[in-house]
Assembly symmetry: C2
Homo-oligomer: 225 residues x 2
């Protein structure tokens, strides 16, 4: 497994997902097959598969004979996504405190530390990435593979929503929220952890504002790292 090169379609999916999560790729952007095959220097077939995968994630919209576009979430989508997140993440919190053997919290602490540093350094992209990662680590600790997979999709869609309708003050206080959640989890206080998680998700959703004009849709070029 030395020279094991990652499959090109996986690279495409990850790159686009990363670009969306970091608000480098905005809603409505067209994802042309030829463009992508050139950018990633691969076959159009592989691009096609990658786009199908992303469509499954509800992160890409596929219009017949027109092509693939980064999904533009509706107001209803936003509401539904955050409610689903609450249902799932509260359950995850309940799971984490219920294990006989304590799960290893160090990864969570490391993540929170890195998050604080990223905020202090003003590194917005890294802050967003680490904030999402926090929820995914927690989901993994929950031990339910179904909820984990769903949350992967939902955090992605959340990023997309915040990129379109979110304010600029985004997730400055997220690090504190995360801290409180972990504290309650370590104290094995499930109810408290769920309360903190609920509050945290409400903080995030509160940043969404549909009244203002949607941010303009960007071009497909900020993809390459």
């Amino acid at each position: 497994m030395a020279g094991m090169t990652t499959a090109p379609e996986q690279i495409i999916v990850d790159s686009i997902l990363d670009a969306i999560a970091n608000h480098k790729l905005r809603a409505g952007t067209k994802l042309g097959e030829h463009s992508l095959s050139e950018i990633f220097s691969c076959n159009r077939t592989q691009v096609r598969r990658a786009l199908a995968t992303l469509t499954g994630y509800q992160v890409v919209e596929h219009i017949p004979n027109r092509g693939a576009f980064v999904t533009t979430p509706s107001e209803r989508d936003a509401r539904d996504v955050f409610q689903a997140r609450q249902a799932i993440e509260l359950t995850i919190c309940g799971n984490v405190v219920q294990f006989e053997t304590l799960p290893d919290f160090p990864p969570l602490h490391e993540n929170i530390g890195a998050e604080s540093r990223a905020i202090a350094a003003g590194n917005r992209a890294e802050t967003i990435r680490l904030s999402r990662k926090f929820h995914l680590i927690l989901a993994e600790l929950g031990g339910n593979s179904v909820l984990e997979r769903y949350l992967e999709e939902l955090t992605m869609r959340s990023s997309l929503i915040l990129g379109l309708y979110g304010g600029d003050t985004e997730s400055q206080c997220a690090s504190d929220d995360h801290c409180r959640i972990v504290a309650a989890l370590e104290a094995r206080d499930g109810a408290a952890a769920q309360a903190e998680m609920r509050a945290h998700l409400q903080h995030i959703e509160a940043e969404v504002d549909f009244t203002g004009a949607r941010k303009p849709t960007g071009a497909l070029s900020s993809l390459l790292l």
Copy 2:
């Protein structure tokens, strides 16, 4: 839209999903591309796309260079699926009772009626189909598109699990459970509805038994209607 023929890949997906839901197609069955393209008299490309969609539903497992197989759920999968169902369906119950304008319950009643009749007639396949349909109607009434989509997948996987590990007395009492859930919903008693739903899901999960030998894997021929 007169002679509008449904896309072949949709037909394939629906047929396989239906066959799985009705336990006509069992876990472990190989889904050969050539076989399917002959059965549905279509191109291999379309079969391929259909299988990819089913893989996304976690209902088909794709092994590189080996082909596609009906997923064999593990014990952990079963646990995770039913816990996820609980988280999602309790939230749906909460949603249904919260709308100002009462949702239209007639479809639910019709479904329950048909279910009772199917049970009385000893029509096992129809019973299973209608039982699943009940949960999907309820999900639609809940008004959350995300939860609705997830439940579509989870009910499918539940069918797969019950087909492998379930007893033969399956879902005889389901109709009564459904009745009680709707009654609580109509009374706008969210807590009661959630309690009934929780009990119902526990009844279903109780039918799962991992100790016995897994039922044998069938051949790919019981597909055609």
